[in-house]
């Protein structure tokens, strides 16, 4: 083995997910870094352990689950879906009905998480498969349109099904992240409050982060395994050549249905976790913009790869925060400094309603884009740029860097 790391003597080793030493080492380092984040010991990255950053990272983990689902549908099976947000909403409300305690008009059964979390996925998957027959008959743009309809149907239903969703303006609370065996008073494991695990004091943010991280890693493994086995290959065959795939024995309709079902399962779980993590959500959360965010994740990260999904999710989810921080920093410079930089940045940010600037720090007042609008513009631009210049996404860029260093100092 030594000296010839790429010489495999067993097919099992050849097919392993981490089939090289480099991959093993990198994953190990990355995982340990993630585990250490809440303790704020990583040099230069200790700010990630602050509570607001931990919450952001937890969101990343939850979004990864949903993005993995869309990646199975869009990246592997090649079926565009704008309805991902709808399935997330379905998952969230299944969780709410099963897991929450009843409040007023709103239904709730107060069941434990080990029921509501899988159920959120299963019900979403069921609706995905039920919707499938309408979707498998069309492809490309037409499919995008059919699934777009789902979002609007969902929006209407969510607004009006007050006993489940709490109605358009109010929303409802979702079950907290905690493990109970059944409906006992004190949860077995409680992620929502501070406490000690194995003698280590952890904040609720750190506990939640660890929990969603574990779930995300589980789903990453499932997605990766799916991709490298029979069903995942059938999906990719349909994506690349649907008629040839059928002549090679892949039942196109039934496998497209499976792709819809599996993708919706991931979306349902992700939606349930997201709603539970946030606590209170209004129906408008599951709108078209959320679907587009997921498409941006898959396209920017690199369609069809689990690593790409992780990169893409981190990028797309952290981008608003970076934009916001950058805006605040620019505003700060403009208001305090009087050097050239401040003068230049004054053209970029608007600090008063009469001030000129491309970015407006006072939402709804004056000219310029709000930070939210700016994010949308950036998503759109990035999707266009990646599709044109780097169809393999961030993952493709990584592959290029890797190949460069593999060959270094030679150019090939």
């Amino acid at each position: 083995m030594r000296g010839r790391p790429l010489l495999y003597t067993r097919y099992e080793a050849d097919q392993a997910i981490l089939n090289t030493v480099t991959k093993k080492v990198m994953v190990l380092i990355f995982l340990s870094a993630l585990l250490l984040i809440p303790f704020q010991v990583l040099p230069g990255l200790d700010f990630l352990g602050e509570n607001d950053w931990l919450r952001l990272l937890s969101t990343v983990a939850i979004f990864i689950i949903g993005a993995l689902g869309l990646n199975i549908l869009l990246g592997l099976a090649g079926q565009v879906s704008l309805g991902h947000a709808f399935f997330m909403g379905v998952g969230a409300y299944v969780a709410a009905v099963l897991g929450s305690d009843p409040e007023g008009l709103r239904l709730g059964f107060g069941l434990p998480m080990w029921i509501w979390l899988p159920a959120a996925g299963v019900v979403a998957a069921g609706i995905g498969v039920a919707f499938g027959p309408a979707a498998v008959r069309v492809r490309g743009l037409y499919l995008a349109f059919v699934t777009l309809g789902l979002v609007f149907v969902g929006d209407y239903v969510f607004r009006n099904l007050i006993s489940v969703t709490g109605g358009a303006e109010v929303g409802r609370t979702f079950p907290p992240l905690e493990f109970r065996l059944w409906k006992e008073d004190t949860p077995l494991i409680d992620f929502a409050s501070d406490g000690a695990w194995f003698g280590i004091e952890l904040t609720s943010e750190a506990k939640t982060f660890y929990f969603v991280l574990a779930v995300a890693i589980l789903f990453m493994l499932l997605a990766k395994n799916l991709q490298r086995t029979r069903v995942g290959r059938a999906f990719q065959a349909i994506r690349d050549r649907d008629i040839a795939a059928e002549i090679m024995g892949v039942d196109e309709v039934s496998f497209k249905l499976r792709a819809f079902g599996i993708s919706s399962f991931y979306a349902g779980v992700s939606g349930a976790l997201l709603a539970s993590f946030v606590g209170t959500v209004i129906p408008a959360r599951w709108d078209l913009f959320l679907s587009i965010q997921f498409i941006a994740i898959v396209l920017i990260g690199g369609a069809g790869t689990v690593a790409g999904v992780v990169l893409g999710t981190a990028f797309v989810t952290l981008l608003p925060r970076l934009v916001q921080d950058a805006t605040l920093w620019m505003e700060d410079v403009v208001e305090t400094g009087d050097n050239l930089l401040a003068t230049l940045l004054d053209l970029v940010v608007a600090t008063e309603s009469t001030d000129f600037g491309l970015i407006n720090t006072l939402p709804g007042v004056g000219p310029g884009l709000s930070v939210f609008q700016l994010n949308q513009v950036i998503y759109g631009l990035l999707i266009i740029l990646f599709l044109i210049f780097e169809p393999l996404g961030l993952f493709g860029i990584w592959i290029r860097i890797r190949n460069y260093w593999k060959g270094w100092p030679f150019t090939y």
Binding site: E12, L221, D240, M248
Partner: protein, 278 residues
């Protein structure tokens, strides 16, 4: 030359099932029309176990349509196609693959983003069972099945001498190698009948000779029956057992290569008629 590994041959021997049929494939008076255009106009032929049957004819004479009819991509309006005595009509294309009919395409139809190994494993689809859940968990039977089939695929890689391309996405490979990979994907399906649609189109002499050798090896050592559609007359006349000539969807001759070559109708179809000048 080619090394046929024991595992490939063993699987040939293991294939059982009834041999109580007249012909492996029996095409009976098939008619296929698109609106007014008659693509296939009353073609009948049969292929026996282990036979290398060739179909030739000018462009647009309905050869590929015949393949699509056998695969049930097109549904002929009249006539019947029997597989081991049973009609194929009404089946979905993927069922014909399960029965043991494999195919390569005139314009390469590999999955360009998947590697050679993955393409061949996709060919194994009909011979594997694991569902999405078992596959996602990568446990027990599903894992064992993956590893076993990875081994079978390696035998095919070995047989077709494409070891060095194993891990390449096929979209990046040269044309001749892609054709070979496509043949491998069809072989991976463990077929009893192989439909080859112009396997040497666009190849140089050396590549053509390689491909001819693989085709003969498949017939001799693996005992797979083959229907070959090809324009390279030298290749067809050299390796085919029997030949069917079609022109404008109509069969004009069937027989041994030597017979077909002398048939005046065939000469007329290919070279045209002499003008009456007198």
């Amino acid at each position: 030359m080619a090394v046929v590994s024991g595992r490939l041959l063993k699987r040939r021997a293991k294939r059982s099932g009834s041999t109580d049929y007249d012909h492996l494939l029996d095409v009976k008076d098939v008619h296929l029309a698109f609106k007014g255009v008659k693509a296939i106009d009353g073609v009948s032929f049969h292929v026996d176990d282990g036979e290398l049957f060739a179909i030739i004819g000018p462009n647009g004479s309905g050869k590929t349509s015949l393949f699509n009819s056998i695969n049930q991509v097109y549904k002929p309006q009249k006539g019947d196609i029997l597989w081991k005595g049973d009609s194929l009509s009404g089946l979905k294309p993927n069922k014909t693959a399960e029965l043991g009919i494999a195919r390569t395409f005139q314009n390469i139809a590999l999955y360009p983003h998947m590697t050679v190994v993955e393409n061949l494993l996709t060919g194994r689809h009909v011979r594997m069972e694991a569902g999405w859940l078992a596959g996602s968990i990568w446990w027990g039977k599903a894992k064992a099945e993956e590893i076993e089939n990875r081994g079978i695929v390696e035998d095919i890689i070995d047989f077709l001498e494409i070891e060095q391309w194993r891990k390449y996405p096929v979209g990046l490979l040269p044309y001749g190698i892609q054709k070979r990979v496509e043949l491998g994907r069809a072989l991976a399906m463990d077929p009893e009948l192989l439909l080859l649609d112009e396997p040497v189109a666009g190849m140089n002499l050396e590549e053509t000779e390689d491909m001819a050798r693989f085709i003969l090896d498949i017939q001799d050592e693996l005992g797979i029956a083959i229907i070959l559609v090809e324009h390279d007359m030298g290749l067809v006349m050299d390796i085919a057992d029997r030949i069917l000539v079609v022109d404008f969807g109509k069969p004009i001759a069937t027989g041994l290569p030597a017979e077909v070559q002398r048939n005046p109708n065939v000469i007329k179809a290919y070279l045209g008629e002499e003008l009456e000048t007198a």
